[in-house]
Amino acid sequence: MFKKKRPLQSKSEIVLRNIVVTFLVVYMGIFLVVPIVMAFLGSFHLWNPLNGTYKFIGIDNYIRMFQYPTFWTAMVNTLIFCAVVVLFRVLLGLGLAYAITSKMTRHKTFFRTVFYMPTVTPLVAVAFVWKIMYNPQFGLIDQVLGLDVNWLYSSSLALPAVMLMTIWKDFGYAVILFMSGLLSVPSDYYEAAHIDGANAWQTFRNITLPLLKPTMIFVVITSIISYLQAYVPVMVMTKGGPGTTTYLSSYLVYDQAFVKYNFGYASAIAFFILILTAVLTVVSFKVTGEKA
């Protein structure tokens, strides 16, 4: 069915359109365009709201940023965090969705509801619960596993611990998306493959996976965008520590902007994150071979 381009006819259509367009243009102007421009200009200034400093310093903030070791630590951590969490989110999401949608599984709704539960819970509260779970004396994890590990104070285990919490919190969203992707595969495709003598793996590899590509792209890109912005788990669980081992890029912005009030410097880092977001989005489109 093709769409007819229908000119606006009645008066009420024009009124409604004008209301919506005016509202959106004004709103986006005030809450999107102006702040971005302000932050961009601010990134070239020494800007501290507490003592009212706003002095032009050229690209000094950017130079300082690239010379600041914590910035690089945070960037490396963020990339590791993104890669690992996205990988597990996709693997768990796809695997569990496959298991749930299998003809042999009963109680599908029950499992789907359970897996999605962590996703609909508030992150701040969940991060506090996990922080106590990692407690070396009486935390659930060490108790159950019979270990004596101080997860959040270990420079090698703190970041993995934060990642594990994030994977637990977010895998359910991927399960739901992959489930609806799997259910939308026409069943005669599977029948045809069965008649041709394809085994389960061949069917999965050659039919299911290619058809899930749009879902995969959606999951990967939305995950990358959101993890580049993650700061709450770190703020609640480790405050970036021990040392700077769990600094993530957005936590660095939070820290510089609202703990140390270096607004100009924080804006420079924020712009770097924006560019990184754009680059990674384009790269993931390229890698998956889809047009943007």
Binding site: R6, P7, L8, S10, E13, L16, R17, V21, L24, M28, F31, L32, V34, P35, I36, M38, P49, L92, L96, A99, S102, M104, T105, F111, R112, T113, V114, F115, Y116, M117, P118, V120, T121, P122, V124, A125, V126, V129, I132, M133, Q137, F138, Q143, W168, Y173, I176, L177, S180, S184, T215, I225, S250, A257, F263, A266, S267, A270, I273, L274, T277
Partner: protein, 273 residues
């Protein structure tokens, strides 16, 4: 026989994954009924040895937790209703009307989803402080009442409504506003439920913005309250368990009640996108 082994394995895997998913919640709720001595003892049991409601009652006397809870419910409901209405209205116009500049406006709407909070929050904070909006609820509502995600979802959903339906109503003399309220809104229930739960949760868990804007304790929201509580009574684990239980369980209940419609909405938005 092979089939049976397969289905048995699948079931065991799913059950195990399910247990790992709910364990933190179960542990949190059970621990909230334990005394602090029992929580930090070395010999732990899953069920409370000595059942107590103390964590909940002392939470309220040390700390006005119910007030935070009520504030969060109020703000979350107001924002959610506004976001739903605005998303539907914008989604309707952007999907069913043809006009110049439509794609440009939709492009900007999509951009709001891609721009990291860190880029806009510093200037937004400066703007709101200059405008004297600090410590007002208006400051919590204004910046989030238009949601790029919401408009995108609704545009996808409403574009699937048959044009003939709208045309028929127009021929019967209905104006656009009544078409929107009587036809478009009621037919978008799935997407509306998905947006409702997400939006409610985002407001419920948002930390930084209310922390920056709200000064008076009696106006503060739950997520900030939790952090303040932990800062002030860092060894009161029982209290923290009670507080987290109070902030998690209501959202879970809402989700379980509406989950069917919600899942349909989430899936529809993503697959078409």
């Amino acid at each position: 026989m092979k089939k049976r082994v397969m289905s048995g394995t699948l079931f065991v895997v799913l059950i195990l994954a399910g247990i790992l998913t709910v364990v933190p919640f179960v542990w949190m709720v059970l621990s909230s009924f334990k005394t602090n001595a029992e929580i930090s003892s070395l010999n732990q049991t899953l069920l409370p040895q000595e059942f107590t409601l103390n964590n909940y009652t002392s939470l309220q006397s040390n700390f006005n937790f119910l007030r935070y809870f009520a504030n969060s419910v109020f703000i979350a409901v107001v924002v959610t209703v506004l976001v739903i209405y605005i998303s539907c209205l914008c989604g309707f116009v952007l999907s069913k009307y043809e006009f110049k500049g439509k794609n440009l406006i939709f492009g900007f709407v999509m951009m709001t989803m891609m721009i990291p909070w860190s880029v806009t929050i510093i200037s937004r904070y400066t703007m709101f402080m200059k405008a004297g909006l600090q410590d007002t609820y208006l400051s919590l509502i204004l910046p989030v009442m238009v949601s790029g995600f919401g408009i995108f979802m609704m545009k996808q959903d409403i574009s699937g409504l048959p044009d003939e339906l709208l045309e028929a109503a127009r021929i019967d003399g209905a104006n656009e506003f009544s078409i929107f309220h009587r036809i478009v809104l009621p037919m978008s229930k799935n997407s509306i439920s998905a947006i409702a739960i997400f939006q409610f949760l985002w407001i419920w868990e948002d930390y930084l913005w209310p922390y920056l804007m709200i000064d008076s304790e009696e106006k503060q929201l739950l997520a900030v309250g939790l952090t303040t509580f932990n800062g002030r009574y860092s060894t009161d684990y029982g209290g923290l368990f009670a507080a987290t239980t109070i902030s998690i369980i209501p959202v879970l209940i809402i989700y379980v009640i509406f989950q069917k419609r919600f899942v349909a909405g989430v899936a529809a938005g993503a697959v078409k996108g």
